[in-house]
């Protein structure tokens, strides 16, 4: 097997001219001969950068304001000296994608049980730190939409800033983005008991965004502290605490924590036994099991509240010597175990309290047993041994520099990038391709060509007569993927709601899909809401357009594979758009004879 080169020039395969290749792009155009080439294999990730919006003076002013907060040492403003202030560019994974969710089922509330369905379609952007953000306080970027993204220029940035490298996986960020959308969809949907759910993700693009953060370091009484500033706010900051506030908060917490349970017990004695301000009341005077249950529940709530206030006050007093803003404090699950189990102990006690009112001889041992068991389990989980195996001590290294690794050639990856010139497979005419576009017409022979990962593939392209549509304002040619769709609806359960709240099974069992239909999938770039509306409109109309003059094909951004996903989106959108409330749907969608149809639209405005 020939050895693969370690470094290889990527020149134009047509004219050998030097090319400028941007990582993450699939199509490269030669500036000399004009031939487009497809980059096959490893492409890297598109890198972008964000310009800082604040200067050093503003950052220092923000740090000064940070000193003034109530829980900081009062001498901080006067004595602290800002020693240094510099910019770091930290990497974030940016996942932009088009996502759709359909959820159907019931919305079960305290005294309601209603049918519910929800369609969510959105162009979502998710940005998550690609480095260890614990000392920088900014795990996710939320307001990136308003900031301009520029191509990444490492050398220019290095003139005045430090540039960090990503240390986490992009695929992981991509999974997180999908998961975040799923969770948000469930939260928004109002469907508490899900009978049907479907999620579609397409057009996913992964890029790295280098985001500027200001790091300021100041000294106070011989100690050094760090503050991180983003845009116009402090996102992470260490500062010495204020002893006056620490003492005040402790005393306040103890005052509330000590008085609240006592006053609560006295209040109960007055309400239940009608003996004001007496500790010697006899709760057994009340025989109602319900009152007993309520008594237990409220006592527990007050006990929890008081203990929480006491602990929080003590923690602030004990550890408030240093305040840390924005640190991601990971509360380990193990630490929560005893508390969680203690809370769970309440459940059997409540049930027992209802069954055996005031039988403290049953209730107290039960709770003690549950608490002890859970505490034991919690401590067991907490005790995690960190085994670290011994490592061999080999002294084989010489002065390490750039190091070459002797590696068998066959273990080198087989996705080294290569440039393939794009020629029409029929007439060999070179194709002028544009990044992001998926379909073209050959200038030589008129063949329709689809650009997929493997190269160019012939597709059927049709042009129709012009059409007037209210969505189009100015005349334009819009491409659509059209599929012959056969839908087998195995099960469709939906209900209609009447004014009086009674439910009736819906009579629509998907008649629309009983005959084979043409699904129109927009192939041009538009917000996902518009794509959905276009697809639903044209599919419902089942147009029968006569062939028109052959025109040019432009702006087709979806491949046939992506269009298949979008076809399902349109099918589900039509089904969920019906006036009944969807409960469950089971279907098989078969899409055949795909073709790209270009419809010239006549604009409605002048």
């Amino acid at each position: 097997m020939p050895e693969k080169p370690i470094i290889r020039g990527l020149n134009c395969p047509q004219c050998a001219g030097a090319l400028e290749i941007e990582a993450g792009r699939a199509v490269v155009n030669c500036p000399f001969c004009g031939v487009s080439s497809l980059l096959d294999g490893e492409k890297g990730v598109l890198r972008l950068q964000v310009r800082p919006t604040v200067g050093q003076e503003q950052v220092e002013a923000m740090v000064r304001r940070f000193f003034l907060r109530w829980d900081r040492d009062p001498d901080l403003e006067r004595e602290a000296a800002i020693r240094e202030c510099f910019v770091v560019y930290v990497p974030y994974w940016r996942v932009s994608m088009r996502a759709a969710a359909w959820l159907a089922g019931r919305n079960v509330g305290e005294d309601s049980d209603d049918p519910a369905e929800k369609t969510i379609v959105e162009d979502s952007v998710w940005t998550v730190a690609a480095y260890n953000a614990s000392q920088f306080g900014l795990q996710e970027l939320k307001g990136l939409q308003g900031r301009e993204l520029e191509p990444f220029d490492r050398e220019a940035l290095r003139q005045h800033a430090l540039v960090f490298e990503p240390e986490t996986s992009g695929a992981r960020a991509s999974e997180q983005a999908e998961l975040a959308f799923r969770q948000a969809a469930h939260r928004q949907s109002g469907v508490t008991s899900t009978l049907f759910q479907r999620f579609l993700f397409f057009g996913k693009r992964l890029s790295l965004v280098y985001y500027p953060l200001w790091v300021a370091r100041y000294t106070f009484r011989g100690r050094s502290y760090q503050v991180v500033v983003d845009d116009h706010r402090v996102v992470y900051g260490q500062a010495p605490g204020n002893p006056t506030w620490r003492a005040a908060i402790l005393v306040l917490a103890v005052l509330v924590g000590a008085t609240l349970p006592l006053d609560f017990l006295m209040g109960w004695s007055w309400m239940v036994a009608n003996e004001p301000l007496s500790l010697g009341f006899d709760l057994r005077l009340v025989e109602s099991g319900l009152a007993c249950g309520v008594y237990y529940a409220t006592t527990w709530a007050v006990a929890w509240l008081s203990v929480s206030i006491l602990l929080a006050g003590y923690r602030f007093f004990r550890f408030g010597g240093e305040r840390i803003l924005g640190a991601r404090r990971k509360l380990p699950l193990q630490a929560l175990w005893p508390t969680l189990a203690w809370g769970l102990g309440l459940v059997p006690c409540m049930i027992l309290a209802l069954a055996f009112p005031w039988r403290l001889e049953i209730l107290l041992p039960t709770y003690a047993l549950v608490s002890a068991a859970s505490l034991g389990l919690g401590l067991l989980v907490r005790r995690r041994s960190r085994a670290n195996g011994a490592r061999p001590e080999v002294d084989w290294f010489q002065q390490p520099d750039w190091l070459w690794k002797a590696q068998p050639a066959d273990s080198a990856p087989d996705d080294q990038p290569t440039l393939k010139p794009l020629h029409c497979p029929n007439c060999q005419t070179p194709l002028s391709a544009r990044e992001g576009e998926a379909a073209y017409l050959c200038q030589g022979c008129g063949w329709g060509l689809e650009l997929v990962e493997e190269g160019l593939r012939r597709i059927e392209v049709a042009f129709t007569e012009s059409l007037l549509h209210p969505r189009v304002e100015v005349a334009q040619h819009l491409p659509f993927w059209v599929f012959e769709a056969t839908v087998q609806v195995e099960k469709r359960k939906a209900v209609e709601k009447h004014l009086l709240g009674k439910e009736k099974a819906s009579t629509d069992h998907g008649q629309f899909w009983q005959a084979p239909r043409q699904i129109y999938v927009p192939a041009f770039d538009a917000p996902i809401e518009d794509l959905k509306a276009w697809g639903m409109d044209l599919t419902r109309m089942q147009l029968d357009l006569s062939p028109g003059d052959s025109e040019r094909l432009e702006g087709c951004v979806y491949t046939e594979a992506e269009a298949r996903e979008l076809a399902e989106l349109i099918f589900l959108a039509i089904e969920f758009d019906k006036p009944d409330v969807m409960q469950e749907i089971d279907y098989t969608l078969t899409l055949t004879s795909p073709r790209l149809v270009v419809i010239p639209f006549v604009g409605v405005s002048k």
Binding site: E42, L262, Y314, F317, R391, A406
Partner: protein
């Protein structure tokens, strides 16, 4: 074994100019002829250092702040005798591994150390720079070959990353404690340190709780059932509690300041 071969720099395949290989990038642009080149990173072991942002003095101040933290002994930052630190670049192996569609980073120590505090040391966030031979006197030599720790298939990139660490020792009450301060992010690594005595804090909190509970309880016990002076007793109780709270505040502030 043909294990190492020193090659200071890569050359452009087009014009032969020396190339500067930035960390992370798949494509390299020749600064001389503007050609784009592809570097197969799986066949090379890179040698980087994490850029240092702290000097010895600043690292000392960072350590002082850490020593003054709430969990450390109360006078630790004042009493500890800190020795002059030693700057050492500690080696770590960083593997970028392709697992299906996913790419993951794994970090393993590249030198054996008796300091348990460096176990599980992550590569701190910082700028990765190509190794500069001028740093040679400060390097901790790697003693663990990457083959010994690499247990993954499909390693796409192997890098030796030297992390700047200031190794300090401080003496406190006759004992010597080792500690390392990361010269890039200022993170402090320590295995053991003298812990703070909790008793004064707990004492103040328990005393405050007992006193305030007692005041409230006394009010309830003193008043007879069905008494008409309910409002008066309640107001009196609140007054006494506030007075006690005031005294406790001064006590607690004293503890917060001195401890």
């Amino acid at each position: 074994m043909n294990r190492t071969k020193t090659q200071p720099i890569f050359q452009c395949t087009q014009c032969g100019a020396d190339l500067d290989i930035p960390a992370g990038a798949v494509f390299v642009t020749c600064s001389h002829c503007a050609s784009t080149l592809y570097l197969d990173r799986s066949q090379v072991v890179f040698h980087y250092t994490v850029a240092r942002t702290l000097d010895a003095e600043a690292a000392g101040r960072t350590l002082r702040r850490w020593l003054a933290g709430g969990e450390k002994a109360k006078d630790l930052d004042r009493e500890a005798e800190i020795e002059t630190p030693v700057l050492r670049y500690f080696p770590l192996w960083r593997f970028k591994v392709r697992e299906g569609e996913d790419e993951r980073f794994h970090v393993e120590p590249a030198a054996v150390t008796t300091l348990g505090l460096l176990d599980g040391l992550p590569i701190p966030p910082g700028e990765l720079r190509c190794y500069d031979p001028r740093l040679a006197p400060y390097l901790v030599r790697p003693t663990v070959p990457h083959e010994a720790v690499s247990r993954w298939q499909n390693v796409r990139e192997t890098a030796l990353v030297h992390v700047p660490l200031f190794f300090f020792q401080y003496r406190y009450r006759g004992q010597t404690y080792p500690v390392a301060v990361d010269g890039s992010s200022g993170q402090v690594f320590a295995e053991t340190y003298p812990r703070r005595w909790d008793l004064p804090y707990r004492g103040v909190a328990v005393f405050a709780f007992a006193l305030l509970t007692l005041v409230a309880l006394a009010a309830y016990l003193l008043v007879s059932p069905g008494s008409e002076d309910l409002g008066l007793v309640y107001a009196l109780r609140c007054g006494v509690q506030l007075l006690a709270a005031g005294l406790l505040f001064f006590l607690a502030r004293q503890v917060a300041r001195k401890m």
